[in-house]
Every structure is written in structure tokens, then in C-alpha cells.
């Protein structure tokens, strides 16, 4: 080997290594900045109090609660719909048929649409079309109840956005249920639906949970879909009904850093809010990873 070739080899190792460590570096830098900037604001009061004095003091409780409500309603809609779609895809339709192909194409496309497009879709479809027409039917005086941004439409928009995550993860789990068990059930005179309900679904429950949690952690980090569909700048109270607006962590960070009267003064609050949002997302992701690990371990036994 010539000296030139050796040097070239060393250069490649250095370059690939640099890129790889660069990734770690970015994560470390982001996390350190946020922790340094926000840790002094973190307190019990910060987590449990409402914003005060024009959002330059106080806590972020309404945003935490709003995020929580958002993901709960989103999951309550998205997980069942995604699960049912996945079951149809994995169990009922022939894998090489055009129906299966078009569903898969739609799911992949849905996963690739920018989140702001979902936000605009939510505004156009849920609020202006569905909501306005509901109002016309239910309140003859023309009051605005559903035809305006609210937590229901925001959650439904978010459910659409996270649907592909749920479908993919449930479909994987459903397909992983051993053929043996399905055959055993069918051979006992169970119908296909009984087999799905009693054997396939119980054995893919962890996959469904994983899908739900991945959807939640994806949804909790998105701001664009709720920008026009329900998130509020500031609300002194929590949402009490589905037609109320709500505060949300990601949106709170966005408005604090762009719309606030004094961005410098609230820097600590912004860092701390970001930290809470990140911790929440990490927590959910780790739960998903742990569930998968547990599922794999159990299926090996």
C-alpha cells in the first residue's frame, strides 16, 4: 500500500467519524442550551400556574393541560381509525390487489404531506365546511359554535396527521401474530372476525399501544396543524367543552418567541417551556421503545 492510499484511508475514517460525531454534537448542543437557559425557571409553580402579567411571569399549566387534552382526543379518534384501517389492510385485502396498493400509496402520501398543509386542510374542511354547516343546522340564529377554531377540530386535524404512524405500527404488529394461532382458531370453527377479535388483536395490543404513543409524541411536537384550527394565544381558563380553544406547549413557544411584547425578558420561560415539551416527547418515545422491547421479549418466550 502506498502512502497516498493510506492517507486517503485515514482521511475517509476522519470524515465519516466527524459527520457521525457531528450528529451527537448537535443533540448535545441543543440540549445543553435549553437546559442552561431554562433550568432556573423550572419549579413546581411553573408547571402548575397559569401565565401572569402579560405572559412575562407565572407558569405554563394551561399549555400543559391543553397539550394533554389535544393528544387524548387525537388518540381517541386516531388509534381506533388507524387500527381498523391496519386490520383491513393486513387481514382482509389481498396484498397484491390494487386496493391494497392504493391504501398503501395513500398512507405513504399522507405521511409525506407537510404539517402546515394539514393545518390549512383542517381550517378549510373541519371549520369552514363541517363546522359552519353544523352551525347552520343546529343554531338557526347563525351563532358561531363549531364554525371556529376549537380543540375538537385541532385534535381531528392532528389525528389525520398521525394516522400513518398508527397504521404502519399496528399493521406490523398484526402481521407478526403467528400463522399457527390463526389456523388453530379457524380450525376450531371460529370465523375470521372472531379470530381477529379474540386472537389477532389481543396479541397485537402492544403494537397498537406503540402506535398510539408514537402518534402522541409526533403530535405533541407539531404546531402547524393547530395554528389555524384551535390553539389560542392566551386563555385564562382551561377548555371545558369540545368547542373551546386551548393553549398548547409548542404553540406557546412559537408565540412567546415571535409575538411577545418583550422576547428578551421571557427567554427563560421559552427555554423552560421547550424543555417541558422535549421531556414530554422523550418520555413518550422511551415508553414506545420499552413497549416494543417488552413485546419482542414476550413473543420470543
Amino acid at each position: 500500500m502506498t502512502l497516498g492510499k493510506k492517507a486517503f484511508g485515514v482521511g475517509i475514517v476522519a470524515l465519516t467519524g466527524l459527520c457521525a460525531f457531528g450528529v451527537i454534537g448537535v443533540v448535545v448542543y441543543v440540549m445543553t442550551t435549553i437546559i442552561i437557559g431554562g433550568h432556573h425557571m423550572m419549579s413546581w409553580t411553573f408547571l402548575t400556574a397559569a401565565p401572569a402579567e402579560g405572559m412575562t411571569a407565572g407558569g405554563i399549566f394551561p399549555a400543559i393541560a391543553g397539550t394533554f387534552f389535544l393528544v387524548v382526543i387525537m388518540s381517541a379518534v386516531g388509534v381506533p381509525v388507524g387500527t381498523i384501517t391496519a386490520i383491513y389492510l393486513a387481514e382482509y385485502v389481498r396484498q397484491d390487489s390494487w386496493i391494497a396498493k392504493s391504501i398503501r400509496f395513500a398512507v405513504n402520501t399522507l405521511a409525506g404531506i407537510p404539517s402546515i398543509v394539514f393545518g390549512l386542510f383542517g381550517l378549510g374542511f373541519f371549520i369552514q365546511f363541517v363546522g359552519r354547516n353544523m352551525d347552520k343546522l343546529m343554531t338557526p340564529q347563525g351563532e358561531l359554535v363549531w364554525g371556529q377554531p376549537c380543540i375538537l377540530w385541532a385534535s381531528l386535524t392532528m389525528a389525520l396527521l398521525t394516522l400513518p404512524v398508527v397504521i404502519v405500527s399496528v399493521e406490523e404488529a398484526v402481521k407478526a401474530v403467528p400463522r399457527d394461532l390463526r389456523e388453530a382458531s379457524l380450525a376450531l370453527g371460529a370465523t375470521k372476525w372472531q379470530t381477529i377479535l379474540r386472537i389477532v388483536l389481543p396479541n397485537s395490543i402492544t403494537g397498537i399501544l406503540t402506535g398510539g404513543i408514537l402518534a402522541v409524541s409526533r403530535g405533541a411536537g407539531e404546531v402547524a396543524p393547530i395554528l389555524f384550527t384551535g390553539a389560542a394565544y392566551f386563555l385564562p381558563h382551561l377548555p371545558t367543552k369540545l368547542s373551546d380553544q386551548f393553549m398548547e406547549l409548542g404553540y406557546h413557544v412559537y408565540i412567546m418567541s415571535t409575538q411577545s411584547t418583550n422576547v428578551e425578558q421571557t427567554a427563560g420561560i421559552q427555554y423552560a417551556t421547550t424543555l417541558v415539551l422535549l421531556l414530554l416527547t422523550f418520555l413518550l418515545n422511551f415508553t414506545a421503545i420499552y413497549l416494543r422491547f417488552w413485546m419482542r421479549k414476550r413473543s420470543l418466550q
Binding site: P178, D180, L181, A184, A187, L188, G189, A190, T191
Partner: protein, 256 residues
């Protein structure tokens, strides 16, 4: 052992089967007698399992299968369009090569069939579970752990649990697809004893790789080779004086 007046329960008439363009079964015609054990023997890939799975239409689950000829069970052609496959499978139970208990408790495994038929009464279920576990000679081993996981049982126990689970549906026919091939000799002996007692009440068709097993448990033996039925006779005849040289060669271990 043999009963000359016995009734034909399963009749196969010129049955052929194709996987895509590949012909796996070739014009098979044979009758199987009520409350007898019929063994299917032959080398791997000879079509014996495929043939067995026609009787409860388990081949329906595989794409690109084409069948010709008739399978008649109790006088009814099971491939006619008006047949309810679910009813057929309740009448024709199946035990698989690899024991496949559900990841549920012992009790819930046996109660699965009755439950899907709508039996909810706890007393009825208790009675069925106990009766079927006794029938499959497993009761004494599991009666104190009915609600423990079925996956905690040994391989042989799991297979007997699968038999109990199949019996709980009250079938008339039991299809066994190499039920003991994954078991140790002691567990195999227990399964064989069980088959011997079960034939008092059920018509049994068993696929086996094991010549000794076929000669021990069956009344009739059918030898398959390359998708064809080569020879079919009473078991003692097959093992002492087979008519064809190919059968003799296989039985004595000269090929296969």
C-alpha cells in the same frame, strides 16, 4: 379391531390439487371408515398433509390453490358453494404438527371453541373443560393450574391441550397432522395411547412420518408418493404383505 359393517365417513373421489401450475395431488380416491384410525404415510412433500387439509378446507387460506374432484363427508360434498366452512370445521377438528396453544390460560384454551359458539355459563364451561381435559388425559396434570398460562406446559402437555381444545368443539372427525413429530418418545407414547382411546368416539385421520407409529395406532394405512395414492389397505396387510414393491421399499426403509 376392524369392523366390517362400519360406515364410510370421508370419501375422496378423484381429488386433484394444484398450487399455481404445480400439481400436488393426483386423482386420489379413497374411503375412510367411521371410528377407525386411518394413517397417511409417505416421504416429505408427497402431498399427505395437503390432502389432509382438504377435509376441513384449511387449504382455503392459501392463495392460488385449485382443486378438482369431490370430498364427501357424511354424504355432503364439502366443496360445494352452499357449505358453511365454519360448520364444517366444527365437525372436523384438527391437531397441528407444532402444538399451537393460544397465549392464554389452560382453561381459556379449552373454553375457546365453546365460547365462540356462544356458551357463556360458567358452570357449563367448567364442565366442558374438565371433561375434555380428562378425555385428553391431561386433567390430573393441570387441574391445579387451570388458570396458569398454557405456554408453561411441556411440549407433550401442550399437544394434549390442543387435542382437548379440539374436542371441546364436539367434532366427529379429528385430523392429526404429524401430532407427535416434535415430541420426545414418552410424550409420543402418551399421544398414541390417547389416539387409541379416542377412536372409540371419533373418526381419526393421522399423517405421520413414523412407520412404527402408523403400524401401532392405525386400522388403515395409505401410502402416498409424489402426490399419488400408491396403496391403501388395512394396516396389518400394508405392513406384512404390501401388494406393491414401492410400498414395501418405503415401509422397510429402503427409500424415503
Amino acid at each position: 379391531m376392524e369392523n366390517e359393517t362400519s360406515r364410510v365417513v370421508i370419501r375422496a373421489d378423484k381429488v386433484s390439487l394444484w398450487y399455481g401450475a404445480k400439481r400436488a395431488l393426483c386423482d386420489i380416491s379413497m374411503d375412510m371408515q367411521e371410528k377407525c384410525v386411518t394413517a397417511f404415510i409417505g416421504p416429505s412433500g408427497c402431498g399427505k398433509s395437503t390432502f389432509l387439509r382438504l377435509f376441513n378446507r384449511m387449504n382455503d387460506l392459501i392463495d392460488n390453490v385449485r382443486i378438482s374432484g369431490n370430498i364427501v363427508i357424511d354424504g355432503v360434498d364439502v366443496y360445494q358453494t352452499s357449505i358453511d366452512v365454519v360448520d364444517l370445521r366444527r365437525k372436523v377438528g384438527m391437531i397441528f404438527q407444532k402444538s399451537n396453544p393460544f397465549p392464554k390460560s389452560v382453561f381459556e384454551n379449552v373454553a375457546y371453541g365453546p365460547r365462540i359458539q356462544g356458551i357463556r355459563n360458567r358452570g357449563d364451561l367448567d364442565a366442558i373443560v374438565e371433561q375434555c381435559l380428562r378425555q385428553s388425559a391431561l386433567w390430573d396434570e393441570v387441574k391445579d393450574g387451570l388458570h396458569g398460562s398454557a405456554l408453561g406446559l411441556s411440549g407433550g402437555q401442550q399437544q394434549r391441550l390442543c387435542i382437548a381444545r379440539a374436542l371441546a368443539v364436539k367434532p366427529e372427525i379429528l385430523l392429526m397432522d404429524e401430532p407427535a413429530s416434535a415430541l420426545d418418545p414418552l410424550s409420543t407414547a402418551k399421544i398414541e395411547e390417547l389416539i387409541y382411546t379416542l377412536k372409540n368416539d371419533y373418526t381419526i385421520v393421522i399423517v405421520t412420518h413414523n412407520m412404527q407409529q402408523a403400524s401401532r395406532v392405525s386400522d388403515y394405512t395409505a401410502f402416498f408418493y409424489m402426490g399419488e395414492l400408491i396403496e391403501y389397505d388395512k394396516t396389518p396387510m400394508m405392513f406384512t404383505s404390501p401388494k406393491l414393491k414401492r410400498t414395501e421399499d418405503y415401509i422397510t426403509g429402503r427409500f424415503g
